[in-house]
Each structure stands twice: as C-alpha cells, then as structure tokens.
Amino acid sequence: MLGFVAQRLLYLVPVLLAVSLLTFLIASLLPGDLAYTILGDQATPEKVAALRHDMGLDQPIWWRYLSWLGNVLQGDFGRSFRTGQTVLQAVAERLPVSLELMLLAQLGALTIGIPLAIACAVRSGSAFDRFMTGTAFSMLSVPAFLSAILLIYLFAVELRWLPATGYIPFHEDPLGNLRCFLLPALTLALGEWPVLMRVLRSDMIQTLQEDYIAMARAKGLKPSRILLVHALKPSSLTLVTVTGINIGRLIGGTVIVESIFALPGIGRLLLSAIFTRDLIILQGVVLIVALGYVLINFIVDLLYAILDPRIRHGHA
C-alpha cells in the first residue's frame, strides 16, 4: 500500500508542472499589457517601460515562467497590485467559505443520491424507479440560478426560515454561519444528486446481477447487509470518481451561487480578479485551485485502492 501511495505521488510531479505551465501561459497570453493596466491609459511610454522592466515583463517568456515557478516553489505566489494583498492571504481568507459550501453541498447531494440510487436499483424498472429516474433527469436540467431563486423565495421570503443572502463567519456565530450556508449548499446539492444517483443506480443494477450477490442471498444474509456491504462497496467506484470531480470543481468556488448568496468565496475572488484585470491574483488562485483539484484526484485514486483490493494489489 505504501509503495502504491509513493507511486501515485510520483505521478503527480509531471501533472503539477503541466498545470503550472498552463496557468502561467493563460495569464500571460491574455490580451493587454499588465503595465498599462496598472498605470492606466494616460501613462507615458517611459513610465510603462520602466514598470515593465521592474516587473520583468521585458524578459523572455520562459525566463518569466521559471522565475515565477521558483517563487511559487518557495511559497511566494505574488501580490495583488491593487490591494497589496498576497495571493496566499487572499486565498486563505476565501477558501474556508468555498470549502464549507463544497462540503455541505456534497453531503447534501450524497444524502439524497445514495439512498435513492439503492432504492431504485433494487426495484429497477418499477414505477418508483422510472419516476425517480425521470425526476433526476428533470432536476439535472434546472440551472443553479433558477433553483437558487426558487429556494430563496420559498425558504427566505415565504417561510422566513433562512436568510436569503449574507455571510457570518463561523467563529462569530456557528449556528448563524450554518444557516447562511444551507440555501447555497442546497442549491448546489440539487444540481448534483441526480448525477450521483444515476451513476450509482446503474452500477448497482449491474452489481446486483453478479453471482456473488446470488451467493450472498443463498447464504441467508439480511437484505440490508447484502445491499450495503456486498453490493454498495463494489458499485461505488464511479460514484467516488464523480464526487471527486465535483469536489475538485467546487474548490474553485462557484461564481453563480457565491454571487447570488453573497458569499465571499474563491469564486467571487476569481470573478473580481478578472473584472479588475488583477492577473497576479488570477494566476495564483487558478494555480492553487488546480493544485487542490489534482490533490482531490490523488485522494480518489487512493480511495479506489481502499474500495477494491484488486487495484491495491495491481490485479485490475
């Protein structure tokens, strides 16, 4: 198992290098000159040239990449030329918000998706199954901004149970913090459970036809044990993959949901960096988010090995 982990970690090195290169290229290939952006349209060519020299923009691109990468490896992702905040500070401020939102959304999606998937797989083809599959499909086509507005209308405007927007830090009021995350998390969960349910349902239907399930029934095991131990574990690989992808995606925050609910997360940080052409922040945040994504996928790989011993032993 240790060898397996080391091997997977080694695979990460080229992936991370490629990610850093792409991030850098995207930011540097954007149209517009950073020095002009900082100084404004009225700047004299001399001042622009001087700033370009100070920022190293007159160096060849590969040199700029290497020096940026060198700084990044030392933990220096740069500093916003607008706010003076370092990238790390900005991310440290916003990340907990996006992480909490992501975590609650995933928990919500899994809590809705897994039981429904099992229930549908057991009665596959029944009226219940067809109804749930249809519901899932229609939920899938509801965009987040629509379900957000409907949820706000129902829970904030009509019932007045939850705040419509706003953010209270956890250390100030844990319960209030949770309350303001519920609606945005539910919005995201509503968009995600159908995917989780559909992949788990179809894997589960296949697993339930395996000989070892017939064997488990022939052994006289309780139906709950057959479903939750014998069938769920081997059926959950795709579910884990999709959940991993969702988590990775949500580390980068969600622009729409964070904007609607006024949550100060990574998504809104990125959005404002784009609007203000704050390329240093943009580049740094994208890299950190990509690192998170790669890390989550690494964890998913490890989960595969935990779920399926054949992968652990290199048999599959």
Partner: protein, 329 residues
Amino acid sequence: MTGPALLSVEGVAVDLPTPRGNLRAVDHVDLSIGAGRTLGIVGESGCGKTMLSRAILQLLPKKAKLTGRVMFDGQDLVRLDRERLRKLRGRSLAVVFQDPMTSLNPVLTIGTQLIETLQEHLELDSVAAKMRSIELLAAVGIPAPEQRLMQYPHQLSGGMRQRVAIAIALSCEPQLLIADEPTTALDVTIQAQILDLLAREQRRRHMAMIIITHDLGVVAGRTDEVAVMYAGRVVERAPTPDLFKRMRMPYTEALLAAIPKIDAKPHTPLPAISGRPPDPTRPLRGCSFSPRCKYAWAQCLIEKPGLEDADSPGHQYACFRPLAAGVPA
C-alpha cells in the same frame, strides 16, 4: 428411495419472458431426495438444470415465473415468507455455484464472507466464529487457513476459491447441499479433488447432496440416483448403478457415448450428439429429443412421451422407443 424425502420437487415449471416469447426453462419436473442421499442431475448446457437448482433455492431472476411446489423438510419453499426462507438458506439449504471466480465477493475478505454466514445463523461471538472459520478452511484442505482469512478472493487460485465456497456452504452444517457444476470452471487436475472433498464432507456430515453436471462421468461413482434432463424435462431417472447398466433413453446413451474413453484408439472421433437442443421458446409437439434421435419414428414427432416406470424399481424413462432393457451401452 428410502425414508421420507428431505426435498421433493413437485411439478415444478419455470417460465422466463424473453423478447422472443415465453421460454419454458423447466417443464414439470418431479424429483425427490432423502436425507443423506446424493442425487445427480445431468444434462447439456441449456437443459434447465441450473434453472431447476435456482428454482429450488428460490433464487430465480425476478421476471421468472415458478409454478409447482418445492417441499423441503415439510415446508413449501415457493410459498414460504421471505424471512423464514432467509433463515433456511445458508443454514439448512446451502449451495456451491459453478464459477468460484464470480461467486465470491471480490471486495470482501475470505474471513468476512465466512464469518458473516456463521454469525447470521449460529449464535457465535466473533472469536468463536473466527475459530470455526479456521477449522472449516482447514477441513476443506486450505493450507495456512489463518492467513487466508485476511486475504481477498483474487489472491487465491480457482481451486482454492472453490474450496472456500464449499467451506462457506458447509459452515452451518446444512441438511442439503446443492452443487451446481462445482468443477466445470476448474482445471481438470483439480476437479477430482473437489468432488472427493464434497463426497467426504457429505459422508462426514450426513447431509443430502444434489450434484448438477453435464458430465455423466462425474455422477457415476458418486451418486445414489441420477436424473437426466433434456430441454427442461427429466427424461430418465434411476438408481445410479441401474442407470448405467440398463439405460433406456437414447439421450442418456448418447450422453454417455460422448464421454471420451481412456481405452479408445488415438484419433477416434468422439461420437458427439449431432444437432442442437430445441429452441426453448418454440417447444416441439413431440419428444424434444426426436430431431436428434437415431431411433425416432413417427409417434416420437407427434406425441410427447411421459415418464414411465421401467421393470427395475425406481427407474423411469420418457421414451416411445426405449433401448432394450439389459443391454449395457
């Protein structure tokens, strides 16, 4: 048959809906087996023998329709409620499936799969269940049983996996073991070992056993009675020695002739049964074997023969033109 039957299958038929129409997989089969006895069910692939075993265990696919009665120990399994059926399965009624590569759960350890059965049916704490699992694995001839408990099925060879499956089946001392082609998926060298193991454990535990196979050679020395199935029906049944000495049904004869003989000259062509079994979604009016039978005459094509008693006791066959009694094949 001596004593009251432990299991009796009465008029069991299994229908499977398919896109091409209804498929009658098992067609009014009557069989019975007494405590401690061994019954062999023989037939080629698709003759319904596996469906029959699934029908006995109530493990048919959801869409399948089962009619008839399966009386086990005085209860009709077909009409038994789920919870009582569950308590019987694994406890009194156990099964070994054909392919040990697929019948053990790949993501659970051998230990988990053994211990869960023991703890489901017997009041054992985890230490006692573990001890008993080690004993069981040792009894079925698995070396270093303690370490095997921690291993996963893919870490064992096919023969070892089938031994594990047998250990699981034997774990709660069942009254009846159904072995569904227990050696078909295994290497030839392992087959005899597994059959001997089953026979030994059966004698030791005084349990009844049904061996399902396509190989008359497998049932020859190991069963008390044999039922030959063709196209979903039992076409001949007899005490084993009687069947081999005085077989009446041409299909049984053809099946026996298809076994390679050790004393045959090299390069002798095997007398394979020509043709294929009939399409089970298009049942024939006459005897199902008639298109492939070298003795068939007009009556065989129009009328379906029923099971008739032969001269020797316990021997029945379904044929209008039986082989002459007393002629060894």
